[in-house]
């Protein structure tokens, strides 16, 4: 009969009719301890089951792309550090390389190797932060402190190198800003020497832990097909079984010199993403170990003028940031200021897969899934 109470709820892209009495809408964030910043998620719940979601973003929007049009190429470089602020070095690398490509300058090998080392350390730091917070979201209170202990070592290396810990602005267009400090190699080697054991420590707490496995296996499954359609990149894509890493596909910096594996998952669930990132840390360590043994000597800055006026044209360059493909699309009009800088933020695009991943799961899985995508809102919102 007509009395069945129904309500129409609007989801992005679909209209669903649900029984009114069963549905509640819950608003997670923007002030919520596990939305990793100011993400706001509107969840449509049936009991505790998620039947739809909508991410509301933009709370951290600063108009980075607009700012770029009003700054010279060099001036804009520090701004990119503020996007993915837990992986500032990677942001800087992407931007510098994109501008170098636009300028068509060659970076000296020494600079390339140092860049590689720092970027890989940054990847480790970013993954450590991810691991700590992700585990915390799932209720393991301890790993975050272990992770921060190691991350601190990396940040100290950054601090010694360029004076900044978080928003480092470590590179300069054309090469490096600073020569490495005395003892850089030793510091990095010391860190890498027992980092392997430290990863074992984290894994001992989590990998075979029954509760961890139950909480992550089969949660937030993203098939390879969906992942590609949604443009997902980085560890999330690899955990779905697509063996694709820009460091191998379009080698940049000095990655073509080193041996490393691309870890791939098979189920595309939260557990696989966890395993992929853990393995990535080991591979990063491997890259660093190879690189630190053999830093070529020579200049650290290529031939770039004080005033950069790239020839008119456009370039797209992307790197494998810790979160995925970080791309810069820069249009030059021949002046010292970019005509347009478009940043392809991996977090933003990966976050779009959230809705696909979360449907049918429980509220408790929502935080696991937000955590597993590894977003940084500074980058999502720019």
């Amino acid at each position: 009969m007509a009395e069945t109470p129904t309500r129409h709820v609007h989801f992005p892209g679909m209209d669903t009719t649900v029984l009114g009495a069963d549905e509640i809408i819950i608003n997670m964030g923007p002030q919520h301890p596990s939305t990793h910043g100011v993400l706001r998620v509107k969840l449509h719940l049936d009991g505790e089951k998620v039947i739809g979601s909508e991410c509301i973003i933009g709370y951290l929007h600063r108009g980075v792309e607009k700012i770029a049009e009003h700054r010279s190429y060099q001036q804009f470089a520090p701004y990119v550090d503020r996007m993915d602020y837990v992986a500032a070095v990677s942001n800087g690398l992407g931007y510098c390389e994109a501008v170098e490509k636009l300028l068509e300058v060659e970076v000296p090998p020494r600079a390339k190797v140092v860049r590689t080392i720092l970027t890989e350390l940054q990847r480790i730091a970013s993954h450590l932060l991810w691991l700590g917070t992700h585990a915390l979201d799932i209720g393991a209170l301890t790993p975050i402190f272990y992770c921060f202990r190691e991350r601190e070592e990396i940040l100290k290396i950054f601090e010694k190198y360029c004076g900044a810990r978080l928003t480092t602005h470590a590179f300069r267009i054309g090469g490096l800003q600073y020569e490495v400090y005395d003892g850089f190699e030793e510091d990095v080697k010391r860190f890498l020497a027992d980092f392997d054991r430290k990863i074992d420590e984290y894994e001992a707490l989590l990998t075979t832990n029954r509760i961890w496995v139950e909480r992550t296996k089969g949660i937030g499954v993203l098939s390879a097909q969906d992942a590609i359609a949604l443009g997902v990149t980085g560890p999330v894509l690899r955990a779905s079984g697509v063996k694709w890493d820009i460091r191998k596909a379009f080698p940049y910096a000095a990655y073509d010199r080193y041996d490393f594996e691309i870890p791939v998952g098979s189920n595309g669930d939260t557990y696989d993403r966890y395993l992929v990132r853990m393995e990535e840390m080991r591979q990063s360590r491997r890259i660093c170990l190879q690189a630190i043994e053999d830093i070529p000597s020579g200049p650290i800055l290529g031939k770039v003028g004080k005033v950069m006026k790239p020839a008119p044209g456009e370039v797209y360059h992307s790197i494998e940031a810790p979160k995925g493909e970080l791309g810069y699309y820069i249009v030059s009009d021949g002046t010292t200021q970019p005509y347009r800088v478009r940043i392809r933020p991996p977090s933003f695009i990966n976050l779009q897969a959230f809705d696909t991943m979360v449907r049918g799961h429980l509220v408790a899985d929502v935080v696991a899934i937000i955590g597993t995508i590894d977003i940084v809102l500074g980058e999502v919102d720019r």
Partner: protein, 217 residues
């Protein structure tokens, strides 16, 4: 057959006002360093390798053969392939690129504003092919009131990217399932990444309204 489109190419280029020096617009805030002239920049730097080179390879030929006039131009810039296509047929071309040419991932979708042109926006679509390990950029000129077809049915990834594009440039995509602002609040006025959107004006307006004083900027 394959030659025909190639021969057309030079004629087409000027029409689309392809984008580099000639069409360089000046936004209000930076009058100082715009050369503004027709082609003053390339000669200044001693003969830069005039980058947008015409591109002609197997793939471009296949595209031309399939879509004929809709492929307005094929270029290469910094060794990156660019296809300039007609906006109306963008979705068809995208579908073809995905299904036949194996460009299975939409990497990025954005726009560039050229206010002086007849069709002020360049829609820029970056594609990537896993099997071929190749990138391809599709560009389509879109007028201010044009409604280019949405790519969301082709790649799910286009959903948010097009919303962002709408948010920042005000380009309305036809057939998009949920075209709303994404980064800015719904009640925002204007589209910030347009060249005529002045940040100072925005700022002073906000300060006047919310703080009741004149902004010092």
């Amino acid at each position: 057959m394959a030659d025909e489109p190639t021969s057309k190419q030079p004629e087409k280029r000027p029409e689309t006002s392809e984008g580099q020096p000639p069409a360089r617009e000046t936004s209000a805030q930076k009058p100082a360093e715009k050369p503004a002239g027709e082609k003053p920049v390339p000669p200044k730097k001693e003969a830069p390798p005039a980058w947008p080179k015409p591109l002609d390879n197997e793939m471009v030929r296949r595209f031309r053969q399939r879509f004929g006039d809709a492929i307005l131009d094929a270029l290469e810039d910094r060794k990156q392939a660019i296809l300039v296509v007609a906006a109306e047929r963008l979705r068809e071309i995208a579908e073809y690129a995905r299904d036949e040419e194996q460009f299975d991932m939409l990497t990025d979708l954005t726009a560039v504003d050229w206010p002086k042109r007849e069709k002020r926006f360049d829609l820029v679509v970056n594609l990537y092919s896993f099997p071929r390990n190749e990138r391809l950029r599709l560009k389509a000129a879109v007028g201010e009131h044009d409604q280019p077809p949405s790519l969301a049915p082709v790649w799910a990834a286009a959903n948010w990217l097009e919303r962002e594009c709408f948010d920042m440039f005000g380009i309305r995509f036809e057939g998009h399932p949920d075209l709303r602002r994404i980064l800015l609040p719904d009640e925002w006025v204007g589209h910030p990444l347009r060249k005529d959107y002045d940040i100072l004006q925005q700022d002073t307006a906000w300060v006047r309204e919310n703080l009741g004083i004149e902004s010092g900027q």
